[in-house]
C-alpha cells in the first residue's frame, strides 16, 4: 500500500505545467477567441514535441506506454490552463483506442494529427472539424473516417474552445476497424475529465486569491474578510477531497470491475463539482469584474459546465456508483477491494 506518486510522474507533470504556463496564457486565449479558432498549431507542435501525446500510447504503436496515472497528471495541468486543444480526447482516449485496433495505422505516426471520437454516450463530437480522422461507433464496431467523408453540423458551445458537431455518416464511406472497447474509452475520458476538473477548480481558486489580495474595499483587501475567505476555503476543501479519488481512480482503472468503474464515476462527479463550486466562488469573489468577459474566470466556469455533462451525465455516473453500493460488499475493509475477491 503506497498512495504516493514517484519522482518520474511528478517530473512529467512539472514539464506539462511549465509548457502550458508559457504557451497557454490569457493573451493566447484572447487572440484565439478573436480569431474564432480552437487550435493553435504552434502550441500543439510543442505539446507533441514534449511527448505528451505519446504518454498513453503503447510502445507497439510508437508511444511511451505509461499509465493512466501519468496521463491524468497531464490532464490536470491542461485543465489548469483551460487548454483549447483536444489533448485529452485525442491522446488520452481516441489514439489509444485506434492503437488497440490498428497499432500500425499511419495516423498514429502523424504527430500533428488529432483524432476525434464519436462515443455513443455523447450526442456531439468535440473538435471533429480539425481532426485528421473521427472514430465512429456502429453496433459496437469502430469505424474511422476523415471529416470530409462525413457530414458535420456545427453545434456551438458556450465554451469558446469546444467546437462541437453532430455527425451523420455512412459505413460505406468509412474504414471498419472491428469490435472496439467503448467502455474503456468512456472510463478513460471520464477519468481524464475529472483530472481536468481538478485543474479547472484550482485555477478558479488561484485567480480569486490573487484578486482578493489586491482588491481593496473599506480600506482593506477583500481577502481579509471572512465571508470571502470562507467561499474559497469551501472550494479548496472540495478540491482536496476530489484529488485522492481521481488518483485512486487512475491507479485502479485497469481492474475494469464494478469498484473501478464506480471510483471513476465518483472522481468525475466530485472533481467537476469542485470545478463548478470553485468557478462560481471565483466569480462571486471577483464581483462585477467576475461577470465580465474581460476577466478569465468564465472560461473555467464554461469548461466545467461542459465537462460535467459530457462523457456521462451526473445521473449516469451516480447510477454506476449505486451499482457498486448495492451489488458489492461495503464497509471499511472494502476501500480497495476487487470484484473478483468478493465473487
Amino acid at each position: 500500500m503506497d498512495f504516493t506518486l514517484n519522482d518520474e510522474q511528478l517530473m512529467f507533470a512539472e514539464t506539462a505545467r511549465g509548457l502550458f504556463a508559457d504557451s497557454c496564457t490569457p493573451d493566447h486565449w484572447r487572440k484565439m477567441m478573436e480569431a474564432g479558432v480552437a487550435r493553435d498549431d504552434a502550441r500543439w507542435a510543442s505539446i507533441v514535441e514534449t511527448g505528451l501525446t505519446l504518454v498513453l500510447l503503447p510502445e507497439s504503436a510508437g508511444g511511451i506506454g505509461l499509465s493512466e496515472t501519468d496521463f491524468a497528471l497531464i490532464a490536470r495541468e491542461a485543465g489548469y490552463v483551460a487548454l483549447p486543444e483536444p489533448l485529452v480526447e485525442s491522446a488520452g482516449v481516441a489514439a489509444p483506442m485506434l492503437a488497440a485496433l490498428a497499432p500500425d495505422h499511419a495516423l498514429l505516426a502523424d504527430t500533428m494529427a488529432t483524432i476525434a471520437i464519436a462515443h455513443p454516450l455523447n450526442p456531439f463530437v468535440a473538435h471533429a472539424d480539425s481532426a485528421a480522422a473521427i472514430l465512429l461507433e456502429k453496433d459496437g464496431e469502430a469505424y474511422l473516417a476523415t471529416p470530409d467523408q462525413v457530414t458535420l453540423t456545427a453545434q456551438p458551445s458556450i465554451d469558446p474552445f469546444r467546437r462541437l458537431f453532430s455527425v451523420t455518416w455512412d459505413a460505406a464511406n468509412a474504414t471498419a476497424l472491428g469490435k472496439a472497447d467503448w467502455d474503456l474509452a468512456l472510463d478513460r475520458a471520464a477519468l481524464f475529465n475529472a483530472a481536468m476538473g481538478l485543474g479547472l477548480a484550482q485555477r478558479s481558486v488561484d485567480l480569486a486569491v490573487e484578486y482578493a489580495k489586491e482588491r481593496q474595499q473599506f480600506g482593506k483587501p477583500i481577502g481579509s474578510y471572512q465571508a470571502v475567505k470562507h467561499h474559497l476555503a469551501t472550494a479548496q476543501v472540495a478540491i482536496e477531497f476530489a484529488k485522492p479519488v481521481v488518483a485512486a481512480a487512475a491507479a485502479e482503472i485497469s481492474a475494469r470491475d464494478v469498484q473501478a468503474r464506480a471510483r471513476i464515476s465518483h472522481a468525475k462527479l466530485v472533481a467537476l463539482e469542485a470545478a463548478d463550486t470553485a468557478a462560481r466562488a471565483s466569480i462571486q469573489v471577483h464581483g462585477a469584474m467576475g461577470y465580465s468577459w474581460e476577466v478569465d474566470v468564465h472560461l473555467f466556469l464554461k469548461r466545467a459546465l461542459a465537462l460535467s455533462q459530457s462523457w456521462g451525465t451526473p445521473a449516469f455516473h451516480r447510477a454506476r456508483i449505486a451499482t457498486r453500493i448495492f451489488t458489492q460488499p461495503m464497509g471499511p475493509d472494502q476501500t480497495f477491494a476487487r470484484e473478483t475477491e468478493n465473487a
Binding site: F3, T69, L232, V245, I321, T335
Partner: protein
C-alpha cells in the same frame, strides 16, 4: 502508487479480526458519557484491548505500543469499526495527547504517561477552552506560577470532554504577565488533585459528556509540563493537527455508517422519497473520499511529510459528511425519525443519537469557521 495490501498487511488484518471476534464485548456497552458505570465498562474494555497489545498500535513498544506504521493503524481502525467494538473512552489521550507527547516529551515523561494511557489505567480529558477563550484560544487566562520544582495552577476551564469521569487533564496555562500566544504552557494535572473541582455540563443529548473545571492553587510537579515554558501554543497546534487531520475521526466509522445507511435505504425504499437514493450514494462517496484522503495522508507522512494546514480541510469534511449522512437516515425514517427507541426496520442503529452527536462536529476541535480561516490564510495565502 500501489493500492493493494501486502501479504503482511493482509495477515495483520486477519490477526486483528480474529482477536476482536474472540475478545470483543458480546453486548454493546452503556455510553461512556452517560454514567460512571458506562465509563468504567469502557475502561475495562481498554484494559482487555491492552491485554491483546492493541492499546495504541503505532506507539513505540517501550511506551506501551506495537511500533506499527500508519497503514497498519488504518487497518486496525477498519477492523475495529467493522467489529462494532466500543468507542475509545481514552481517545483524548491516545489520539491527541499521545502523539504530541511522543513528539515533544522527554523519555521520562513518555515512560510515566504513555503506557498507562494505552492501557486505560489513566484516562485523559482536554482542558483548553475557557469561558473567555473559545475560538480565540490565545485568550487563555488560567495561570501557572512556578514554585520551586512545582507549578501552582489556577483558573477556570470549560467544555472539557470526558472530564467528569476521567483521571487526568492536559491544560493550557499562562505565565502571569504574558500576552496572547506567548507565555502559554501545556501542563498535566490529576482531576482529583486538591483544589480541582469538576462540574458536569449536560449536552443536548442529556449525557454529561463535558464539564467545567475550577482550579484553585493546584500544585503539580514541573515534570508535568510538556515542552518548555511558553511553548504551549506551538505544542497545542501540533496536537490540533493530529486531532483535525488524522487520528480523531478515522474513516472506518463513516464507512460503517454509510453501509448501515445503504441497508436502511434498501429496507425502506418502497416508502421513502426516491430522491433520497442520491443522498445514500453521496454518503458512500463522502466516506470513501475521506478514507482515500487519509490513506494518501498516511502514505505521505510515512514518506517523511508533516501534517500541515490541510488538516483543517479534513476536519471540515468529516464533520459535514457526518451530518449529511445521519440527516439522510432521519429523512429515510420519516415520521419515526424522532423516536429515541428502536421502532422501525432500521436495524440496530440509533440514528437520532448519531445525528445529535454529529451536530457537535462543526464546533469541537476548532469550529469549522476557524478551520476555514486557517485554510484561507495558511493554504491559500489570503491576508489576516
Amino acid at each position: 502508487m500501489d493500492l493493494t495490501y501486502t501479504p503482511e498487511q493482509q495477515a495483520f488484518r486477519a490477526e486483528v479480526r480474529a482477536w476482536l471476534e474472540a475478545h470483543g464485548p458480546s453486548e454493546p456497552l452503556e455510553h461512556y458519557d452517560a454514567t460512571r458505570e458506562g465509563f468504567e465498562a469502557h475502561r475495562t474494555w481498554e484494559k482487555t484491548l491492552k491485554s491483546g497489545d492493541w492499546g495504541m498500535v503505532t506507539w513505540p513498544k517501550e511506551y506501551g505500543g506495537r511500533g506499527l506504521d500508519l497503514i497498519q493503524w488504518l487497518i486496525f481502525e477498519e477492523e475495529y469499526a467493522r467489529a462494532g467494538a466500543p468507542g475509545r473512552v481514552s481517545q483524548n489521550g491516545i489520539f491527541l495527547l499521545g502523539p504530541t507527547l511522543i513528539e515533544f516529551g522527554t523519555h521520562e515523561q513518555k515512560q510515566r504517561f504513555l503506557p498507562k494511557m494505552a492501557s486505560g489505567e489513566e484516562i485523559w480529558a482536554q482542558a483548553w477552552s475557557e469561558p473567555q477563550a473559545g475560538s480565540d484560544l490565545a485568550g487563555v487566562r488560567a495561570t501557572c506560577v512556578q514554585d520551586g520544582d512545582d507549578y501552582i495552577l489556577s483558573g477556570h476551564k470549560i467544555w472539557s470532554s470526558r472530564a467528569v469521569f476521567a483521571d487526568w487533564a492536559f491544560g493550557l496555562f499562562r505565565t502571569p504577565g504574558t500576552e496572547r500566544h506567548k507565555g502559554l504552557s501545556l501542563i498535566f494535572f490529576p482531576l482529583n488533585a486538591p483544589g480541582v473541582t469538576v462540574n458536569a455540563i449536560k449536552k443536548i443529548n442529556g449525557h454529561v459528556g463535558f464539564a467545567e473545571i475550577f482550579l484553585e492553587n493546584v500544585r503539580v510537579p514541573a515534570f508535568n509540563r510538556l515542552g518548555d515554558e511558553g511553548q504551549g501554543w506551538h505544542i497545542c497546534m501540533a496536537t490540533a493537527g493530529f486531532e483535525r487531520g488524522l487520528m480523531l475521526r478515522s474513516p472506518a466509522r463513516y464507512q460503517v455508517a454509510a453501509r448501515k445507511l445503504a441497508q436502511l435505504w434498501e429496507a425502506n425504499k418502497e416508502t421513502a422519497d426516491p430522491a433520497l437514493e442520491a443522498d445514500v450514494v453521496r454518503a458512500h462517496m463522502n466516506a470513501d473520499a475521506y478514507a482515500l484522503n487519509i490513506y494518501q495522508t498516511a502514505s505521505r507522512l510515512m514518506a517523511g511529510a508533516k501534517i500541515g494546514p490541510e488538516a483543517s480541510t479534513n476536519k471540515i469534511f468529516w464533520s459535514e459528511l457526518d451530518i449529511h449522512l445521519t440527516q439522510t437516515a432521519l429523512a429515510i425514517l420519516g415520521p419515526t425519525a424522532e423516536l429515541t427507541q428502536e421502532a422501525s426496520a432500521a436495524g440496530p442503529v440509533d440514528w437520532i443519537d448519531d445525528y445529535i452527536f454529529a451536530l457537535a462536529g462543526p464546533i469541537y476541535a476548532g469550529s469549522n469557521e476557524i478551520q476555514r480561516n486557517i485554510i484561507a490564510e495558511r493554504m491559500l495565502g489570503l491576508p489576516r
